[in-house]
């Protein structure tokens, strides 16, 4: 009976692989600790014992979902700013001793935290959300947009002569090397720089478009 049933079916490997990939994608999205549009809050709890935590707040229902439950961050550190990487994992920039900053990636499904191996020399004082694109982390400050090389920790201001803004919605989005702003969002820089290997130089190829809701990086 089994043999005759096998003879009646035919497996198409490519379609099977595509189905498995799609199923994995669906499973991942279904397992996220936050929902799209949730407000992710970086918090410090004073009692019963000081601790830092990350929670997701649903702005429609006001439901709170702990993301870092059981793995809360040390209260000795200050959570400076947050953002997301291309996978939807949460990035948290924290202050570290010796005037440095470090980056923690929080898995969006498990809450597991991974501290990036490098620290950012000179520290950062972010004025808005982070965005990670490949090996670069973009950090808005009161005066510049910093590009932080995650391999070396080097932070380079990639704007010159811009004016002071708080970026409220800078975020990474697929496809890679593209960064989108939410409608009518905040960024304005005069002379962005282009990355050429480890160097940055002025270039017109990097466009910061104020009105088209999109900026492109090299």
């Amino acid at each position: 009976m089994g043999r005759s049933r096998r003879s009646l079916t035919r497996v198409r490997p490519l379609a099977l692989v595509a189905a498995i990939a799609l199923a994995a994608s669906i499973a991942r999205a279904d397992g996220l600790l936050y929902r799209p549009g949730d407000v992710i809050l970086l918090q410090h709890l004073a009692r019963p014992s000081p601790v830092n935590r990350i929670v997701a707040l649903n702005p429609a229902t006001l439901a709170m979902t702990p993301i870092s439950a059981g793995q809360d961050l040390s209260s000795d550190e200050v959570l400076l700013s947050g953002g997301f990487d291309e996978n939807g994992d949460i990035l948290v920039l924290i202050s570290a001793p010796n005037n440095t900053s470090s980056l923690v990636r929080v898995d969006a499904q498990t809450g597991t935290q991974t501290t990036m191996p490098t620290t950012i020399a000179g520290g950062c004082n972010p004025s808005g959300p982070l965005a990670r694109l490949g090996d670069l982390l973009y950090v808005p400050t009161a005066t510049d947009l910093l590009a932080v090389d995650l391999a070396t920790g080097d932070a380079t201001p990639i704007t010159q002569g811009g004016f002071l803004v708080t970026i409220s919605a800078l975020r990474s989005q697929t496809p890679r090397h593209r960064c989108c702003l939410e409608p009518s969002k905040a960024i304005s820089f005069a002379s962005p720089l282009r990355r050429n290997g480890s160097h940055w130089s002025p270039s017109s190829e990097v466009r910061f478009q104020q009105r088209s809701q999109e900026i492109r990086f090299p």
């Binding site: 198409r12 099977l16 595509a18 407000v39 410090h44 707040l57 700013s81 939807g88 708080t166 905040a186």
Partner: protein, 102 residues
């Protein structure tokens, strides 16, 4: 474009200049919500601010419990969700993958 300035949420049009959309002095965090309103962080308070409505809505107040929010970000709306179309595509692929001979 929208900024979080010293007076609050400001829309800056390069040709027209700044317009204050909502007064949120001392705010340190801003995010755009899916419905077009703003999530604003002020001290321990996270509020929804609608420029068309003068009364903000409290989303979270941590002060009674000693909770301070240092920053907020809004999760991207591009995180893939298991929508009906995706499930239908999955079923179609499975049907294509394992096809019964006629």
């Amino acid at each position: 474009m929208i900024l979080l300035g010293g007076v609050g949420i400001v829309e800056l049009d390069p040709s027209l200049g700044p317009t204050v959309l909502a007064s949120t002095p001392s705010s340190t965090g801003l995010g755009l919500l899916a419905d077009g309103t703003f999530a604003v962080l002020t001290g321990s308070l996270v509020e929804r601010v609608d420029p068309a409505n003068p009364m903000p809505e409290t989303l979270f107040d941590g002060s009674p419990d000693g909770v301070t929010t240092s920053a907020l970000v809004v999760a991207p709306d591009t995180v893939p969700e298991p929508e009906g179309a995706q499930l239908a595509a999955l079923l179609a692929l499975l049907a294509l993958a394992v096809r019964r001979r006629s």
